[in-house]
């Protein structure tokens, strides 16, 4: 936790400080500040030498299992009742090859790209990538334009269309802003696994591996070296940090 703050993060902190002031001046009703501040303090710990990613082995993921989705929803405080406006940070997509009928059940969430389209298009810089590759939305400066949602190839983001209730202290949400998978950044910063990965290994098929893609000794790197894996829509060259085996 005592890593030196790199330049990017220092700037970001200044920028955020200013944003917070502006937000306070123009919208006295803005909440979330305390929670996001906590997030900021942690963001300073992101190490640029690491790149976090996920490896998902679809052969171990059963269609009937939704442990990852349930855990994410519980930890991050969102829920989906099936309405088109409901948020969905992680979902199971049933993928079927039309000729053979071979099908897979594939968890899809923010792919934490190295060259994320959402960060590229965001007018205010609210969409940002941490030094360790985790792609986040800064709820302080998101103006809710949804351009990032238009640009994301994975439908990984949701717009909050109504008041939120049951917020979790570590996962601030806000009406009128955009949200998505954070790789459970508070947990990661505390040295824990993302909620989906933990749930998958406990109650699911153990299909998910989380780790540092830059570290050759990490479990994820060893698994990637052993079997071929793919990125979704690799042709778009956004270099997702989430990889899939067995597809």
């Amino acid at each position: 936790m005592n890593e030196p703050i790199d330049g990017i993060d220092a700037t970001r902190r200044r920028v955020l400080g200013a944003a917070a002031l502006v937000a306070l001046a123009v919208a006295p009703g803005v909440s979330l500040i305390a929670a996001a501040d906590a997030g900021q303090r942690r963001a300073a710990a992101a190490r640029p030498t690491r790149r976090f990613g996920l490896l998902i082995d679809t052969t171990r993921c059963k269609r009937s299992c939704t442990a990852c989705v349930t855990a994410c929803s519980a930890y991050n405080g969102w829920s989906n009742q099936g309405r088109p406006i409901d948020p969905q940070w992680i979902r199971k997509v049933e993928v079927t090859e039309p000729v053979s009928g071979l099908s897979h059940s594939v968890p899809v969430m923010c792919q934490h790209c190295a060259a994320p389209a959402c960060v590229e298009v965001c007018p205010t810089g609210a969409s940002f990538k941490r030094a360790d590759g985790i792609v986040l939305v800064d709820r302080h400066i998101c103006i809710g334009c949804r351009y990032c949602m238009m640009a994301c190839p994975y439908k990984a983001r949701s717009f909050v269309s109504e008041d939120v209730s049951g917020q979790r202290p570590d996962a601030p949400r806000g009406k009128g802003t955009v949200e998505g998978c954070t790789l459970c950044v508070p947990r990661v910063d505390a040295g824990e696994l993302p909620a989906c990965v933990e749930a998958c290994s406990r109650q699911g098929g153990g299909a998910m591996t989380f780790g540092d893609l830059n570290d050759p000794r990490s479990a994820i790197r060893r698994a990637l070296a052993a079997y071929p894996a793919v990125q979704l829509r690799a042709d778009l060259q956004m270099d997702p940090g989430v990889r899939y085996q067995g597809l």
Binding site: V15, A19, V22, A25, V26, A27, N80, G82, R83, P84, I85, D86, P87, Q88, R91, K92, V93, E94, V95, T96, E97, P98, V106, V108, A117, V119, E120, V121, P123, T124, G125, A126, I141, C142, I143, G144, C145, R146, Y147, M149, M150, A151, C152, P153, Y154, K155, R157, S158, F159, V160, S161, E162, D163, K175, G176, V178, L232, R233, L236, L247
Partner: protein, 412 residues
């Protein structure tokens, strides 16, 4: 060369105030809708996590695109030295400002957090075309304002050409920027084509001119100012050419896409199986936006008719809105291709055509943007001398010598 005399419109009659009240009412309704959208949330709109941009964006983009096109008439006069268009230069600049401000109003009020406008103005991500557009729009208002000023202030008249050129170049970049918003969305198959940007420029020429013609004809009619055939027929012919050009680009756009197998599904959807989107494309964009105006403007039976000019211009506007709805909403209705070549399904609408029905509040907001543009125009015409006192053929320089359909009337 005789000087052109400009005069404010009187704006004292009952008609003026009824119109003003109507527009004010529409603006108030839109603001109320926006207030509800902010306080209750976008749940009261038809927009969802699948179709994230809807009716407000269709109308806002239309107004913004039309704004830069409305400036064209002024540019033709001051940049390209076509004297015949000079009397319209002020009106054209005014419409540009009015339309752009209307479009921006809608865009801003549709934001999830319109209260954070200050954040948008102080935090820029310079890699975002959207952020650049914020500069392009505010710059456009400033440059066009300056342009109007040098045109209207006699002592500064000498600068008209220089400032006019700046405004013209600015508007070209602005429309390219607006078109690029969609062209850059490579993840969405219906967009992802660089031809979007030039197509938007042509669209702006057509929409802007159609609106200019409509405003010009109704303003002259309402104030009893003479409006000769020379100018109307000239503008009408130009509008016909622009409508044809948009049609050509539309064709080129889809042919390019059809050549690439990866877009086959999206193209079949938009052009053949898309229900309302297919209808809007063929019936709206192609027929109303292109074919019908060309027929009305150039068929021997209608080419001399003023009514045909009005209907043709309205048709261009309707076709333009249909085209933008098709591009913006239709482009999102078609599902993202995350697993190309596979059949997909999920609890989050993967692999299905997304439904969208615009709700009353978002339509009211869009309408308010249009009403705002009209309101600004109306009062600007009343307060400042934007309109020439006469556009009769003998008041327009050079005396009626025009190509094409209107020639005979003009000479008569």
């Amino acid at each position: 060369m005789s000087a052109i005399h400009y005069r404010e419109i009187e704006g004292r009659g009952a008609g003026f105030w009824v119109l003003a009240a109507l527009l004010a009412g529409l603006i108030a309704a839109g603001l109320t809708a926006a207030w509800f959208m902010e306080h209750i949330g976008h749940v009261i709109t038809g927009m969802t996590n699948q179709v994230v941009w809807g009716m407000p964006h269709v109308i806002a983009v239309f107004l913004i695109v039309a704004a830069s096109g409305a400036l064209n008439t002024a540019s033709i006069a001051s940049v390209f030295g076509k004297v015949a268009y000079k009397p319209l230069a002020r009106l054209s600049g005014l419409l540009a400002i009015a339309l752009l401000s209307g479009g921006l109003l809608v865009l801003v009020l549709d934001l999830g957090r319109p209260d954070r406008l200050a954040v948008a103005m102080t935090h820029y991500n310079f890699r975002s075309i959207f952020a650049w557009n914020i500069f392009l729009y505010t710059g456009f208002l400033a440059v066009t304002g300056a342009y109007l000023w040098v045109m209207m202030e006699r002592r500064l008249n000498d600068h008209t050409r220089r400032v006019g050129t700046a405004a013209f170049l600015w508007r070209l970049i602005l429309t390219t920027g607006t078109g690029s918003i969609f062209g850059f969305l490579v993840a969405r198959q219906p967009y992802d084509e660089a031809i979007m940007a030039p197509m938007f420029i042509l669209m702006s020429f057509a929409f802007g001119l159609a609106i200019l013609l409509l405003v010009l004809m109704s303003a002259c009619k309402a104030t009893g100012r003479p409006l000769g055939d020379a100018i109307v027929m000239r503008l009408k012919n130009l509008l016909g050419v622009f409508a044809a050009a948009v049609l050509y680009f539309l064709l080129a756009f889809h042919v390019t896409k059809l050549y690439q197998a990866e877009f086959d599904g999206a193209e079949a959807f938009l052009l053949r199986d898309g229900g309302v989107y297919t209808l809007l494309f063929w019936g709206g964009a192609v027929f109303l936006g292109g074919v019908l105006p060309m027929l009305l403007f150039w068929l021997p039976q209608t080419r001399r008719s003023r009514a045909a000019v009005v209907w043709g211009s309205l048709s261009v506007v309707a076709g333009g809105l249909a085209l933008l709805y098709d591009i913006i909403v239709g482009g999102q209705a078609w599902p993202l291709s995350i697993f190309p070549g596979m059949q997909v399904s999920s609890s989050f609408y993967d692999g299905v055509v997304n439904a969208y029905t615009p709700s009353l509040p978002e339509c009211a907001l869009g309408l308010a943007g249009c009403a705002w543009a009209a309101f600004v125009t109306l009062f600007a015409l009343k307060l400042l001398p934007f309109m020439p006192q006469s556009l009769a053929d003998d008041a327009v320089e050079p005396p009626a010598r025009i190509a094409g359909a209107g020639a005979t009337d003009a000479a008569a």
